[in-house]
Symmetry: C2
Subunit: 331 residues, 2 copies
């Protein structure tokens, strides 16, 4: 294994320490609970929004904390759900008079930690609700999931509930918005290589020299099929043929198109995929009016990409358009 790491057990804390040092005035890192929060949270005039998950999916979720997005992120170790008591402590710290919304990508381990933390917080008298995200169309149940998995489409849910909360919406309204966006968001990904967790030191699964995994999960879970490598045009067809009919997205629709890198794929290839998908959607009568190209939800160093479509209406377009600011930035 060749990674930039010291003790693999300290991989997540050392990453979080770097994140906090790079954002000294806007983020607070609480090492006791592996917690990254907005320095100015909680705010009793807005619903607090927290997402947690295993680490290894950065920028999700520790690097998507900021105005108009998350108030806090509560990560576990690499590909491990956060401990229930960490989620509970995070929820208590972020408690707001308007309530707390927990966002959870649909994995069984995460559901358990967040369900129990919600119960404990509610027993304390806090107003806490949970919203599950399950945008991955590739398989119905999976290695670590009952139902569909939550993957890169979670960005759009975060963005929408973040915008609604920032505008002062109450908890019911924030949840309505989040459920609406989740209901019109669909994703599927392809792995070109496996990923290597720092503590394991070797690839999590095996892919042959010319093999790819179509519909891969972001922890390396199997997808729909193991296939031979094919040109980008064919791979985009395969993704669109899974994603488009699932909602379905139809001729006349306006959509947001996201090409998300899984960690080891350069942005040049992501833009190539974006161009191909944009054209192929146009041929189907579907218009891309919002564009997202880059890394949003990764799987450590996996080479690969996912394609997400969101069906837009004026309300969702407005929420995605709202200002937001997170740790990941260029300037």
């Amino acid at each position: 294994m060749k990674k930039f790491v010291n003790d693999p057990k300290q991989f997540v804390p050392e990453m979080l320490k770097g994140l906090a040092l790079a954002n000294p005035t806007t983020l607070t890192y609480v090492p006791e609970y592996n917690l990254i929060q907005r320095a100015d949270a909680p705010n009793d005039n807005k619903v607090s929004i927290i997402q947690g998950s295993g680490s290894g999916h950065e920028p999700a979720h520790v690097m998507t904390v900021g105005p108009g997005m998350l108030d806090a992120a509560c990560p576990g170790d690499v590909f491990a759900a956060p401990p229930m008591d960490y989620v509970y402590e995070t929820t208590k710290r972020l408690a707001s008079a308007k309530g707390v919304l927990l966002l959870v990508n649909n994995y069984t381990g995460d559901r358990m930690a967040f369900d129990m933390a919600q119960e404990m917080s509610q027993a304390d008298g806090l107003t806490v609700r949970t919203l599950f995200i399950d945008d991955d169309v590739s398989v119905q149940d999976s290695t670590y999931t009952v139902g569909r998995r939550g993957v890169a489409g979670n960005f759009f849910v975060m963005k929408a509930v973040g915008a609604a909360a920032e505008a002062g919406a109450d908890l019911d309204e924030v949840i309505r918005v989040g459920e609406k966006v989740n209901s019109v968001t669909r994703t599927m990904g392809i792995a070109l290589t496996a990923c290597t967790p720092p503590a394991k030191g070797s690839p999590l699964f095996e892919l042959g020299e010319d093999e790819i995994e179509v519909g891969v999960g972001i922890h390396g879970e199997p997808g729909r099929r193991r296939a031979k490598w094919a040109p980008a045009n064919d791979l985009v067809d395969e993704l669109l043929n899974a994603v488009v009919p699932d909602l379905p997205f139809e001729s006349g629709d306006s959509v947001a198109l996201m090409i998300n890198g899984l960690g080891g794929t350069p942005i040049s290839e992501l833009y190539l995929l974006f161009g191909v998908a944009h054209e192929k959607l146009r041929e189907r009568g579907i218009t891309v009016t919002r564009s997202y190209v880059g890394e949003y939800c990764t799987s450590l160093d996996m080479a690969g990409a996912s394609l997400t479509l969101v069906k837009l209406d004026d309300e969702i377009d407005g929420l995605l358009d709202a200002p937001a600011e997170i740790a990941i930035r260029v300037f």
Copy 2:
């Protein structure tokens, strides 16, 4: 080779097409000359700034076009200088009454193309000057370079001259600013893996399972030494021991610190490196007041990272603080 690519010969045009489709109102793609430009350029009230280089370093430079940064980028094929006549045509299209500044990372092939294009443009009566960037401290001469190579530190030069040009500075002043920033910027990188050009289909050089290249070039050129993998703390020491004494950066200095990913390294590892470097600089009495973590100048899918320091004063701090907007964005 497993990449998202169709015909390798069309890799760059297909990427540029995707980039333009993702930025339909702000960028214009001119396929005849592989040119990406601001849709609203040229502007006779500001110096036009153009950078070109081989492709494969994205976001540099085609994705750093926009207000406050480049007016156009003129890329060659992967790791190949742009053709002289493309640079010439780009320069003519971007001609402004205030002049044109060509930014060139110091590689012999790029110098030749840009020198000749500058001569041809000047023969046409255009006001055109060139600024060379050479921030890489690792080696004096290199496979494709006389003198030092230009690498990720070129971001700071682009940002500074972009800010000065946007504020209406004349060509002499823009060049003064660019030379000043280049003179206080130092970089060195480490490769954990080689990179694979789409047209070659196999790694450009060989690195053993536990080997790294210290001081690697962004085209895979050899650095200072081939070494055994070591923990992140030790690798940051090696980078700082090369970069800090070179200027030198000294106790009491304020610096911008950039940890730049080389294409295949996830952002989690980059933040880990950032945290380690931040602390080690503090121990040397050097204060990080500006933070940059992510991909700025890559080498296709190479796993690795570079560390850049810029010595700040009020003028440079102001230029780096100025608003700018480029194609790479989150929202």
